[in-house]
Symmetry: C2
């Protein structure tokens, strides 16, 4: 189990603060997606996270919790806890501070923890605003952050996050060209199989989120087929 | 060569901005210290660093450069480049920003790089001021930073730095109790063999700096004997 996540090519991100249309979760589970990632920036509570966890539990898919705060770092019955650090944030709390507080105040199941270096590139997204990320980066600067995350901090995952907006493939390509050991994730605006295929040329793993809420399980299955 | 630094118990830190009394460098080289670390916070230039490098070159000791800026990350003819990140800084540039700039603008010899997580605890030191480090930390908070550096960021070195001031052994002990894979360095105010021995009970490696300039090579030899 330990490193199975390294072989995922398609991950579906579900937001504890949003409600899926009836039947969509069953479609998601049979779409061929490799894993479910429970993650949100706004209004994630232990309650709505627990509720979503109980909804996804019956399906036979790995479940990842990606906490946005120490409070939402629940690890009961999940496969992995993907813990992000926003390395292009201008506020140290999103790089290292919340992590220190988490360790200080909660028990940590290190066997489940997979550290993720986020590079957040949409300044108008909730995650861009909340983390005060420095989003105006050239492809070369994103590549430098990628190398720093990979070779200096030894993050096993570098995650290029355009959150809600389709990104620049040239930026993702630049990151893919320098990555050494890390697995490269891409997320943001994947709402057609063409976009899924385009980003999958450069990223090891693509993450589909909003499109599931907007277009449902059929579109999800198409994005899976596009990257397999 | 690759991991020899893990076995060092005593390191001598030399500042490119300071001048050693005549003969002291020969005393340092024969003191039994395991390595020379060339490092300073203020007024380190490529010129004074190169000058110090040429002075230490004739001696048969490993030489480490610990840059305080991308400009001073010289790696010609040295054993290792120890690259610090001040993880209790309140300014992201000292955690990750300078590292990104270094990668962006200079060629990096990754084979020589050993990442260090600094926890800076003397607010009145140059390094404490320049990096705007959050120094008022309890032993538990230092332990939480240590765990974060070690288990989340996978730093091979956690460096507790009291820079110019003798630290609290209880704080270093707290860090030593939680450290998992990292090697624990301690530096600050070691100017007697007693202090060397006390901190070496908890730290894997102690670093002696100012005392060499103030008290010379004889004291250095005594601190080496105290920890061997």
């Amino acid at each position: 189990m330990q490193h199975k996540w390294k072989y995922w090519v398609h991950v579906t991100k579900l937001d504890p603060d949003k409600t899926l249309p009836a039947g969509t979760l069953a479609d998601v589970a049979t779409s061929g997606t490799d894993a479910l990632m429970l993650s949100g920036t706004m209004n994630v509570t232990r309650e709505n996270l627990r509720s979503l966890l109980s909804q996804v539990k019956p399906y036979d898919l790995p479940v990842v919790v990606e906490p946005s705060s120490p409070e939402s770092a629940l690890s009961d019955g999940i496969s992995y806890l993907f813990v992000p650090s926003v390395i292009n944030s201008t506020d140290v709390q999103w790089v290292v501070g919340k992590h220190r507080d988490w360790i200080l105040h909660y028990p940590v199941e290190w066997d489940l923890v997979v550290p993720e270096a986020y590079i957040v590139l949409n300044p108008n997204s909730a995650v861009g605003k909340v983390t005060r990320a420095s989003c105006s980066l050239s492809a070369k600067e994103v590549a430098a952050y990628t190398t720093c995350a990979d070779r200096y901090f030894h993050f096993p995952i570098v995650y290029i996050e355009y959150s809600g907006m389709y990104g620049d493939p040239a930026v993702v390509r630049a990151a893919s060209e320098v990555v050494d050991n890390a697995i490269l994730f891409y997320g943001g605006g994947i709402n057609t199989p063409q976009r899924a295929a385009e980003m999958a040329k450069y990223a090891d793993t693509i993450v589909v989120g909003n499109a599931v809420y907007e277009k449902g399980g059929v579109l999800l299955r198409e994005t899976v087929r596009a990257v397999q």
